[in-house]
Each structure stands twice: as structure tokens, then as C-alpha cells.
Amino acid sequence: MNEFISFVVAGVVTGSIYAVTASGLVVTYKSTGVFNFAHGAVGMLMAYLYWQFWQGWGWNPIVSLVVVLLVIAPISALLVERVLMRPLYGSALSTTIVVTLGLFLVLYGLVSTVWDQTITRNLPEWFQGNQVGVFGVNLTYEQLITFGCAVVVALALYLLFKTTRMGVSMRAVVDDPSLASLTGARTSRIAGFAWIVGFMLAGLAGILLAPGSGMSIAILSELVIFGYAAAIVGRLSSLPLTYVGAMILGVSESLAVGYVPASYLNDVVAVLPMGLLIIALLLLPQGKLAVGRVVRLRPPRPASLRSTVIGAVVLVVATVVVGTFVTGNNLYTVGLALTIGLGALSLVLLSGYGGQIWLCQFTFMGLGAWAMTKVGGGDSVLGLLAAIGLCAAAGGILALPALRLRALYMALATLAFAVLMDQLFFTNPSILPSGSMDVGRPDIFGMHFTTDRAFMVLVAVVFALCLIGVGALRRGPFGRRLVGMSDSEAACATVGMNITRTKLTVFVIAGGMAGLSGALYGGMSRTVSFSQFGFVNSLVLFVAVALAGITILSGAVQAGIGVALLPLIATHIPSVSGFTYILFGAGIIAVGRNPYGLGLVYLRLGEWWDARRARTQANGGVPGNPPREVSGGLLPPKVGSVG
């Protein structure tokens, strides 16, 4: 019994960190509706600032703590809320995800640039060597402080929401923002306050974690993912349940170490955080069918068959032309861009048309590459078919929770799947003994694709055919069903549309397409490492597609090019490697705030061109007369439409 209590106490310490992390996420989400994917990155930045003040500049640690948590965190929160987040309230989920991921990249780049990551930094403990026994476990003062922080934060948030005017207003805003506004609640002020609390809690979690993490930016920025499980247990709204979730997670990890047989221990501990997240998601009550929202932007028209085919041919011809001028690594980069673009195309279908947020595209690509190596000798068409089949089946399985979950929860479920695959599949020595795999290139109709140039053209042809296919899907009945489902599931259900079948179908198609892109990605690379399929790459790809235009076919092409080219900047100019993250993130924030990304820019250009042509025709071929009723800048609100 004593041993059991010891494990529980040890688990509570871990759970306390999860609780502080998750509570910040929940406070922000429940008050603003924005799930902050940059929460961990905020904690990382605050931890580094704390290190700078205390260790770098020799300030008193308490003063440093006060400055970081009570001055810098609130100011930066207000800045972020005012500049970035305020325009997002009520926006599409994909938009809020993209902007917060953009903020993540900006903060990651900022910390990488300011604090040279080749230098070792340590954040010492405040009370080194001091400890106290609690139920048979010796806890350091820092661990007690962590637990104390979790308790104080819980009490403070309870009092905030129950007894203060601000807290009651926050709850009112959550329940009904427009009604709260009518009763005099200042929603913008409330949202600003929520972001301040969120940033302070993120900073607190970062500072508490920093000594044990070796100031690793990877750990500090990504650890928050393990807090997602706790936040979901609390359904992103209940702080008490969030704390329960955090403690369940921390204690179960500890008890697993204590009682799971050695032969299963590694797998069980690895699975727990994401496993709990998935279980929590599955146990959530069925989400209401999403209804439409008022939008101010008219979505881009689907590309016509003619323009799609022309675009596809241009893509292949451009590939051939580029392929004759570039060699070596540049040639490979072009080929890689095409394979990634194909993966991005599956996101256009799934997320752009179907409204289903998927954050595990590279995981599917990795599965596809693996299947390619395992079937038909590793370099055959059979392998390609296996890649498509395996990933289509996996997509179908992943669709099952999508049938009942709201979009954000579905996004988190796919992220959990990606993290699980990182930990259980791609790093498993029985699957990838050396951590890498050689991927072959198939012979098709007797044609060999042994040179990079030939294989690149093959990829371009496959990509072009897929572009034409997806374009045709979009224009056809299935595409209309997808867009309708994305606009309003409730409306679609009302008119008798089978939403289950539509979701299942699009997941299977997108999965198969991602698997195909993975097999070709592997063939282009010839050797791939497990690390190339990490969940972070999936996040980057999603962001890139959203930036380029997730609802347009060309968005996939541009996203592929962007993701393939981005690392080259850091490679050729190492001194600006951090800046590339900052610039990329800033671009995402700037453009990604509209749901069509760069696609909107093209839309506007097209409208400007149409308007100009209309003017010219109306004046007998003489340009220059003022327009009649054609919109120039912003399109008029399309009230009643949904998207």
C-alpha cells in the first residue's frame, strides 16, 4: 500500500505540471473560442526570458520571475490578442489553427535566433538539495512548489470564475457572446484578460519545466501536447475536470512504471498521454451537427475542367523544363516539392473541400513509404498499390471518430494519432531496425525511372492526374456534397444527405492519396528516416496549404514548393535559419487570417481582371471608364451563405 501511495504522489507531481499547462489552454479557449497551439511556445519564450534575466544578466530570481510573469507575459498577451486574435473570434476553425500555428513558428524562430541553440544552458533549481518526505516519497522544494502552483492556480481560477465580475462576465461571454454584449459586458476586454491569464499560466508552466528539460526548445514547446489530454478530459471548458484529467494522466504514468510488467512497460508508458487523449475524445458526447456561420467572403469558384487540365499540363511541362536546367540537390528539391504537393492535395480535398482538419499527413506519407518497401520487392507497382491501400484503410479507420466529433476534437485526434505513430511505429526497431529505410522506384509499363530526372517527371505526371481527378471530384456531386458538409452538416442532414458515407469516402480517398505521395516521396529520396515523418512536419504542411489556399488546387502545388524550399534557406544562409521561421510564421499570420489564404489574393486578381475586361467591353474596347456594379476590393457580405 505504501508503495502504491508513493507512486500516486510521484504521479501527482507530474500531473501538476500537466494541470498548469492545460488550465491555461482551457481558460483561453473557453473565453475566446481559440485553441492556442502556440501555448507551449509561449511557455518556452517565457522560460528563456526568465533564464536571460536570472542567469544571463544576474538579476534576482524572484525579481526575474515577477518581471516575466507579471509584466512581460501580460503585455505580450495583450499585444497578441489585440493584433492577431481579435480578428479571429468567430472565424473558421482552420483559420484559428493556422494563425496560432503561425504564432508558434514565430516564437520558435525568435527563441532560436536570440538564444544560440549550440550553447548549453541550465536553469538551476531555487533550493538545490532541499527536500521533504511525503508519504514515502522525497520531494524537492521545487516539486512542492509545482504542486502548490497547481493548487493555487486551481483555487484562483475557481474564485475568478465564481466570485469576480470579470469571471462571471467571462462565463457569460462563453455562454452567449452577443447576449453578454447586450448586457454591457465588454467582450474585447474580457478576451484580453483571458489571454493574459493564458500567457501567465503558459509562462509559469514553462518556468517550472525548464530545469528538468535542459532548456530544450523542442521539449518546452511541444510538451504542451501532453496537456491536451487533460484539457480534453475537461472538454475544454471545465477546469475541475481538466485538473482531474491532468492528475489521471500523471498518476497513471507513474502507476504504469510501478505495476505494468517489464515486457509491456515501454509501450504502455509511450501510449498513455495520447491514448488518454484518444479515449477522452471517444468518450465525448456526440457533437452537434455543425451549422453555418455568416461569412464575409465569397469562396473561390471551383476550377473548370479546362483550367485544371491546362494547369496540370503546365505543371508537367514546367517540371520537364526545370528538370533540364537543374541538377543534383536542386533537381531533388523540385521532385520533393511535387511529392509533398501531392500530400498537400489530399488536404485540399479533405480540409479545403470537406472541412475536416487533419494534422497527420506526414504520418500517412510515412506509412505509404513503409508499405512501398515491404510489398513487391520494394520497387514495384504492387508496392505503390499497397501504399495506397494501407493508407486508404487507415484513413477509413481514422474516419470513425470523425463521424461523431466536432472539428477541433477531430484535429486533436489526428494529432494524437501522429504522435502515437512517432512513438510506437517509426521509432520501433522491429519496424525500422536502423531508423531508416531504402525506398525503391517502380517500373511502369517497362519504363525505368532510375534517374532523379525521370522519376521527377513521373511524379509530376501522377500529381497532374491527381489534380485533374480532385478537380473533377470537386465539380461533381461528391464535391458538392463535401462543400455542403463543410458549410453546414445540419443543413445537409436536413436534406437527406448521408454525412457518414461522405466523411468515410473522403477520408479513404485522402488517405490513399497521402499514401501514394509517401511512396513517391520515399522513391524521390531513395532513403528516408523515421524523423522525416514526425508530427511537426504534418503541422507545417497543414499550415503551408492553408497559407497557399486550402480550397484551391494550386494551393497544393504552392504548399509543396514552400515546404520543400524552406529548409534550403536555412541551409544556404545558416545565420538566418531562425528568421525563416519568423518570416514563415509572420506570413501565415498575415495571409492565413482569411480562410482562403493566398487563394483570396488570386480571387481578387481574377475579379479585378474580369471587371477590367467588362469595362473594356462595355466601352467598346476603351478601358478607363468607372465600373458599374462590379465589386473592386472587398466583396459584399454574403449573409445567409455558410462556409
Binding site: 508513493s6 507512486f7 510521484a10 507531481v13 507530474t14 505540471i17 532560436s112 544560440d116 541553440q117 549550440t118 550553447i119 548549453t120 541550465n122 527536500q131 516519497v137 522525497n138 516539486q143 528539460s213 535542459g214 523542442a218 521539449i219 507513474s254 502507476l255 512504471v257 515501454n266 475542367l305 487540365v309 491546362i310 496540370a312 511541362v317 520537364v320 543534383g328 540537390n329 531533388y332 521509432t427 520501433n428 526497431p429 519496424i431 531496425p433 536502423s434 531508423g435 532510375t450 534517374t451 530526372r453 525521370a454 517527371v457 513521373l458 509530376a460 505526371v461 524521390m524 529520396s525 531513395r526 532513403t527 528516408v528 528516416s529 524523423s531 522525416q532 529548409p567 536555412a570 541551409t571
Partner: protein, 421 residues
């Protein structure tokens, strides 16, 4: 309507025809992709250019930049002495961008333009293999991918063997702590398949020596506390805590919690712990590390002149550099390369370089490492034991002041005899 459909069909048909046609043209135009047939690319009258590939910009900025710095530092020192046989050494340092395909292409580029691959360190080094085998490019570096260990073109200053490890330190611990080795706890890493595989090797090796593992777990990359492990190990009576593959910051936490929970096991760790990131304070006192390198962060500078030289030139090339194992790897492999290059004479070729490398059956990098056999890929069996106390590392008995301990020695599996050239 019909006209539209016909037009659409025409567009599609002609488009596909154009697509396939241009593709066929492109396929026909593709080069054979064979490596350069030049006998000594990278060699001019005044210089010899070699390539190196390291993970620099990603996944973490500057991750293995030290490997490049170490190679550059050694070349800078040699160039300051007039180069090799009248030629300056030039390094074409490349960044893997953490992409296997990039590594493949960079290796192809080196195969076509440079003399050899020297130094560098990449998690994706397995992707170099097709190009180096096709071009018979001499590779003088440390590698991580086990499939490269046996590559005939590879020469590592410290050879590695799949499923193999030196046994001397374990025999020493067995003799010194005969009771403790019956109660071993291990916290490894699940961050990579190679780390898990290495742990299996340690398991087999120690089992063969009579060690008994009573607890083992592979920790994830983001774990920041090991309290439950310490409780479990305390209850299981662990006396020797072995950590084979984690980085210094992790092991600092383990060291602290080892003392905190009153486990007080002897903490014995891999060479990764000997780095600036290991900073557990007094809780880490008594931590042991066995290594086949000298204490290159400065502790051995007075007794091994090469340590001071290494330190001086590394700082000269990059004043901000923090000396780590990868910097040392870059330096010692550059030294191995230069030793062979000098012996090739005035007209070095890849074949003559490999012929000279084949003759180097004993190499100790002027005392920076224990004697190794890079030619036959036989790891040296000599080692030292270092102990951490109050922020400092020092050799501990039975280590000689400057050399390496060769008795007890041995290699697991004992059947391994290296490769014949």
C-alpha cells in the same frame, strides 16, 4: 452543351497526350546518373577539397555543427603548417537540412566533385551509402546508421560494430562492485530505433558477464522527471543505475532524483554524459563515465598535449564553440584522413587513399582516443573511467595519468574479428 463536352474531351485528351509526350521526352533525356569517372576529383595542384555532411540547421539549429568545426579546426592547423604534400586542405561543409534525400544528393555531389568525405555527423548518414559505394568514395568519419558500419569505403577513427561493444569497463565494474551488478537498473531512450538496438547490445553483453538487470525502461524525449522509476528501482533494490544513451540534461535529472529518493545507486553512464549539459550539482557527485576518448574538455590538457591543441584550434575556428563529442569526432577523423593522405605521396587518388587507410591498423589521434583499428574496423579495447565531482570531471583509478586502461579489455561478442582488407 454537346459542344462544351466535346471541347472538354479535346482539352483532356490533348492535355494528357502532351503530358505523356513530354514525359517520355524527359525520360529519354535523362542522364545515366553514374558517378564521375575522374580518378581524383577534388585534387588540384594547390588544394585538396573534401566534403562533409552534418545536421546543422535542423532538426535543432546547430545540432552537430561541432563535427564540422572539429574537421575545420584540424585542417586549419595542418594548413598553417603548409598543408599536405604542398596542398592546402579545403572542406566543403554541407548541411543535411535533416532530409535523407538532401544527404543522398550531397553525397552524390561530393562523389562527383570532392576527394573524400571527412568528418561531419548526421542522423541520416545511411543515405550517403549509394553514392559512396557507386563512386568508391573514401569516407573517414563516424557514422550512426548500422548498415554503414561494414561498408568497405568507411573508415572511422572509432569503429562501431552492430551488436558489439567493448567489455573492459563492465569487467572492471564487476570486479569492483560484485554485489551491485546483481541489481542493475537501466533507463534508456526510445527516441530512435538505433538507441533501442544499442540497449539490447548492452543487455546481452552485461548478461554474458553475469550482470542482472532488475529494472529497465526506455524513456521518451520529453520526460522531465523519473521519480516513479526511482521509487520502483529503490523497491527493487537497484544498486547500479546504468544510462547508456541519453543526453547530459536528462542524466542530470536522473542523478538528482537518484539521490533525492535515497536510491543512491552508483550512476554509470555512456560517453554522452561527459558534456557541459551534465550539471546536476552535488547530487551528481560520484557519477562514472567510461569512454575511449581523453578528457577533451580540458581536464587532460596538461598530460595529453593533443587535448590543448584540439581546444586551441577549435576555439580559433569558432570562438563560440562548446567542445563536445562531435567536435572531437570531426577532429580525430580529419587526423586519420591526413595521416593516410600524407602517405599517398604527391599524386593522391581515392584508391591510393583507401590503400593507405587499409594500412592503419592502430590509430590513437595523438592520444585523444585509445588505440583503434580503423582499417579492420576493430574497436580499441582500452578505455578510461572518469568521475564527476562538484562540477569537475577527473580520471579515477585504475586509469593511468595520460594513457588508457587495457586490462581488463575484451570485446563483445568475442567472436568478432573485424574485416579483412
Amino acid at each position: 452543351m454537346l459542344k462544351t463536352k466535346i471541347k472538354a474531351r479535346f482539352v483532356v485528351t490533348s492535355g494528357l497526350a502532351l503530358t505523356l509526350g513530354t514525359s517520355a521526352l524527359a525520360l529519354g533525356a535523362g542522364p545515366a546518373g553514374a558517378a564521375s569517372t575522374a580518378t581524383s576529383p577534388g585534387v588540384t595542384a594547390n588544394s585538396i577539397t573534401v566534403g562533409s555532411i552534418s545536421d546543422i540547421s535542423a532538426p535543432i539549429a546547430g545540432l552537430f555543427e561541432g563535427a564540422k568545426v572539429g574537421t575545420e579546426a584540424y585542417f586549419a592547423m595542418i594548413n598553417s603548417q603548409g598543408g599536405v604534400n604542398g596542398r592546402k586542405l579545403v572542406i566543403n561543409g554541407m548541411d543535411s537540412a535533416f532530409s535523407s534525400g538532401t544527404v543522398t544528393n550531397e553525397a552524390q555531389s561530393i562523389a562527383g566533385n570532392d576527394f573524400a568525405i571527412v568528418g561531419g555527423f548526421s542522423l541520416l548518414d545511411g543515405a550517403e551509402q549509394p553514392a559512396i559505394d557507386a563512386g568508391k568514395v573514401p569516407v573517414v568519419t563516424q557514422v550512426l546508421d548500422p548498415k554503414l558500419y561494414t561498408d568497405p569505403n568507411l573508415y572511422s577513427a572509432v569503429p562501431l560494430v552492430t551488436g558489439g561493444e567493448i567489455t573492459g569497463p563492465f569487467k572492471f565494474l564487476k570486479k569492483k562492485y560484485p554485489q551491485d551488478i546483481q541489481h542493475v537498473g537501466v533507463i534508456g531512450s526510445n527516441a530512435a530505433a538505433t538507441a533501442v538496438t544499442a540497449e539490447h547490445t548492452f543487455h546481452n553483453l552485461t548478461n554474458s558477464l553475469g550482470y542482472k538487470w532488475v529494472y529497465s525502461r526506455d524513456a521518451g524525449f520529453a520526460e522531465t522527471t523519473f521519480l516513479p522509476d526511482m521509487i520502483k528501482m529503490k523497491n527493487a533494490g537497484v544498486k547500479l543505475l546504468f544510462e547508456p544513451s541519453q543526453q547530459g540534461a536528462y542524466i542530470s535529472t536522473m542523478a538528482q532524483e537518484n539521490k533525492q529518493e535515497g536510491l543512491n545507486a552508483l550512476l554509470y553512464s555512456g560517453a554522452n554524459t561527459y558534456e557541459e549539459g551534465f550539471n546536476p550539482g552535488a547530487a551528481g557527485n560520484g557519477t562514472l563515465v567510461s569512454t575511449v576518448t581523453a578528457l577533451y574538455m580540458g581536464q587532460d590538457a596538461k598530460v595529453i598535449p593533443a587535448v590543448a591543441t584540439f581546444d586551441k584550434w577549435a576555439k580559433k575556428v569558432d570562438p563560440q564553440t562548446q567542445l563536445d563529442l562531435y567536435t572531437l569526432y570531426g577532429w580525430i577523423n580529419a587526423q586519420l584522413f591526413v595521416q593516410a593522405l600524407k602517405a599517398t605521396g604527391a599524386n593522391p587518388t581515392r584508391a591510393s587513399l583507401e590503400a593507405q587507410l587499409d594500412k592503419i591498423t592502430s590509430f590513437n589521434a595523438s592520444g585523444l582516443i585509445s588505440p583503434q583499428n580503423p582499417a579492420q574496423k576493430i574497436p580499441g579495447q582500452c578505455w578510461i573511467m572518469a568521475e564527476y565531482n562538484n562540477g569537475n570531471w577527473a580520471r579515477v583509478a585504475p586509469d593511468p595519468k595520460a594513457g588508457f586502461v587495457c586490462n581488463p579489455g575484451g570485446f563483445y561478442p568475442s567472436s568478432y574479428k573485424g574485416v579483412s582488407r
